[in-house]
């Protein structure tokens, strides 16, 4: 139990202002008002309005006869819309109540319009095709810099979530482009039907390298955000965006590529396994309260289980389970739901992409299921009798 005075003191020290008056004040009834689904719907509404506004801007540009200089019009609109809405959010729309009001929704839409125009203008100024550009890294770096500056200048978490996701996508894509240019021969195209096995291996190595570098960067990013959050309040939207993207990066994309191309079995991404093993074991140590706890038998068994999952390249499953455990400990339903949504997807993707016959896959499914049940039985009945009697599905 925690006394009211202690709660207020701890929260204030952490960076979340709370006063006796606020606790004694009238109920505002925000039950669910700031729930994740309500937030998603507002973002959808903002994007909906954004789409329609972009259509009208296109018409406006055409009416003025400025099709050839559209990037300047888009840039000007982007700077004005972003600047004005950012100023509003910094000075007049700081609180969540205001941000989620109707006017808040309008300023969110304006901000989205501004950022989208800025992004389009960046591509326009570089004047290259999106998928083949060699200078996309400039767009990625500039847009990421805008995102970082935005996050520091004002607090609009819905937009920050989207902006972080878009920045990560751009950075990841530009990393892939750069590695492709370095490692693959000139004139290579993914649309060629019959690739040689050497080229497939080369493409695979590019994909593995991008996955590894991105995962490493994202894991460090998550660790940094968690470290910061332990000491001082920081909204979790950044964490959610990074975790969502990390989840996407852990999909066995290269395996699907191999299946589509009828390629021979490809080398395992051991680097990714090691990164995930270290990340998840560290997270587990964080959850159980420190590294010294690994001296006890039950935590040691769990660590062995994590190592086996990593060795089997079950990266996604490991990540999803870690996310769910993390969500439970932090009472963070969003992390838990992200993990729960990813878990069946990863399980399906893993077994689907396994280089084995269907008979072997069915044995593997049964074997892994029995192994999990046996480990559970061993933990509950042999190691942790205190967990007996868990009921109620």
């Amino acid at each position: 139990m925690l006394s009211r005075a202690q709660a207020i003191e701890n929260l204030n020290a952490y960076g979340i202002p709370l006063s006796e008056e606020a606790l004694d004040g009238d109920s505002k009834g925000n039950n669910g008002e700031f729930g994740i689904f309500a937030i998603i719907i507002r973002v959808l509404a903002g994007l909906f309005i954004l789409g329609m506004t972009i259509v009208s801007i296109t018409g406006f540009v055409a009416l003025l006869g400025l099709e050839q200089q559209w990037e300047f019009v888009a840039g000007a609109i982007g700077i004005l819309a972003t600047g004005f809405s950012a100023w509003k959010f910094r000075h007049n729309y700081k609180t969540l109540e205001k941000q989620y009001s109707f006017k808040g929704l309008l300023y969110l839409s304006l901000l989205l319009v501004g950022k989208a125009c800025l992004l389009a203008a960046l591509f326009g100024w570089l004047g290259e095709d999106f998928w083949r550009t060699d200078t996309i890294w400039i767009v990625a770096v500039v847009f990421t810099a805008i995102t970082v500056a935005s996050c520091m200048y004002y607090r609009m978490y819905l937009e920050a979530f989207l902006a972080v996701l878009v920045s990560l996508c751009l950075l990841d894509f530009s990393l892939g482009q750069l590695l492709r240019n370095w490692l693959l021969p000139d004139g290579w195209s993914p649309y060629v039907r019959d690739l040689s096995s050497e080229t497939i291996l080369l493409v695979h190595s590019v994909v593995l390298s991008v996955d590894l570098i991105s995962a490493l960067f994202l894991a460090v990013f998550v660790a940094a955000l968690l470290w910061f959050q332990r000491h001082r309040y920081l909204s979790s939207v950044y964490l959610y965006a990074v975790m969502l993207f990390l989840g996407y990066k852990l999909m066995p994309g290269s395996k699907f590529f191999a299946i589509i191309r009828n390629a021979e079995s490809l080398p395992t991404n051991w680097g990714l396994s090691i990164v995930l093993l270290i990340a998840v074991v560290s997270l587990y140590a964080f959850l159980i309260g420190g590294w010294r706890k690994f001296l006890s038998i039950e935590h040691f068994i769990v660590a062995i289980g994590i190592a086996i999952l990593a060795a089997l390249s079950l990266h996604g499953v490991l990540f999803a389970a870690a996310l769910m455990a993390f969500g439970r400990v932090r009472h963070d339903q969003v992390s838990w739901v992200i993990g729960m949504l990813y878990l069946p997807i990863y399980l399906f993707a893993y077994y689907y992409s396994l280089d084995a016959t269907l008979l072997i896959k069915s044995y593997l499914l049964i074997g892994s299921g029995v192994a999990i049940l046996l480990i559970r039985y061993a933990l509950i009945h042999l190691v942790l009798p205190s967990l007996k009697g868990v009921t109620h599905a």
């Binding site: 709660a7 979340i16 925000n30 669910g32 018409g59 009472h331 049964i366 999990i372």
Partner: protein
């Protein structure tokens, strides 16, 4: 009068403060981490490992029989499945069903084995019967176990089998039209309403789990919204009538019925589903639906008029969507406090 500063916070009180808008989400999470024991997640890990383990084993068994049945003799196939079935039922009875998670999981496994048995039996002794009969018999045979097991997961399995039976019956015996979606949506709506109503009468019982409500709310919303969309498409463009003995004459009726079901779902969400978030979702997604209908029926015609059409069409559509959302948010603001006061509770 009690000194407020000495008040002690428990998990429930922190939740209450959050629901009353006195504590932000981050504050709620921070305080809960201070109050709740750190190892609570072990119980969750226990359940997760049980669910994942059982799902993997069952998936393996299903794939084994689905893909390898040609290489096995008939007695082997049926014998193995029956062995699994009897083992699961025996173990479930030994563990007990009511409120015992292992017993419930075994009962669900037994229900899956019934379906596998019927599928394999049908492959060995082919009678030419339609697939819907399998699902019909499957749903009838496992119903007693479903009732006895007192598990919402088991009810979910049963509902999936039932919905598959209804869909297959319609497609194989009657028509390829989309009218059946009204019945599928109605089943989802009844499931959601019945569970929410019974949970409100018996809080903290096995019926009181919000995931089940969420599942069928989202399912019903998706189907009814799809029906409304089809109605609008039918009005604007007409719809292709495939293998339909009624020549599409009931398509309008189905669309309007979908609209009515959507409205009933809206009412029930406010009435029984205690978490206000669901009501918000329904309101705001309905706003999106209305906006999309507007775009299809009116804005598209504007876009056909060149640059001016783009400019005006985009502006009018953006204004219309904004207006719809303004109405939705105003509506929620007007109802939120009252609903909140009346309906706190286990689903929140």
């Amino acid at each position: 009068m009690t000194d407020n500063t000495e008040q002690q916070f428990s998990i429930a009180e922190i939740d209450k403060l959050y629901r009353n808008g006195k504590l932000p989400r981050a504050g709620m999470q921070f305080l809960k981490q201070m109050v709740a024991p750190r190892n609570v997640w072990g119980q969750w890990a226990d359940k997760l490992s049980l669910v994942v383990g059982v799902v993997l084993v069952l998936a393996g068994v299903i794939f084994f029989f689905a893909f390898n049945w040609k290489d096995m003799a008939g007695w082997q196939k049926l014998g193995l499945i029956n062995l699994g079935l009897v083992a699961c039922v025996s173990a479930a009875v030994w563990h007990g069903l009511g409120q015992v998670v292992v017993g419930q999981a075994l009962a669900i496994a037994a229900s899956v084995f019934v379906g596998v048995f019927m599928a394999v039996f049908g492959q060995i002794y082919q009678t030419g019967a339609d697939a819907y009969q399998l699902f019909m018999m499957w749903s009838i045979l496992i119903l007693p176990w479903v009732i006895l097991s007192k598990s919402l997961a088991h009810w979910t399995l049963w509902l999936v089998v039932l919905l598959t039976f209804v869909s297959a019956f319609w497609l194989q015996a009657i028509s390829s039209g989309f009218e059946i979606l009204t019945l599928l949506a109605a089943i989802g709506l009844v499931s959601f309403a019945a569970q929410s109503y019974l949970a409100s009468k018996r809080p903290d019982s096995w019926l009181d789990h919000s995931w089940f409500s969420w599942l069928w709310v989202i399912y019903t919303f998706a189907i009814t919204a799809y029906l409304c969309g089809l109605l609008v498409f039918k009005m604007r463009y007409g719809l292709y009538v495939g293998r339909d003995p009624f020549l599409g004459q009931y398509q309008y009726l189905a669309g309007y019925f979908g609209l009515v079901l959507h409205a009933i779902g809206y009412y029930l969400t406010f009435r029984y589903f205690k978490n206000l978030v669901s009501a918000q979702i329904w309101t705001l997604i309905t706003a999106i639906l209305v906006s999309a209908v507007f775009l299809i029926l009116f804005a598209e015609a504007l876009f056909d008029n060149g640059e001016v059409g783009f400019l005006l069409g985009g502006l009018i559509a953006a204004a219309a969507v904004t207006g719809v959302f303004w109405g939705g948010i105003r509506f929620l603001s007007a109802h939120q406090f009252d609903r909140h006061q009346g309906k706190g509770g286990a689903n929140a």
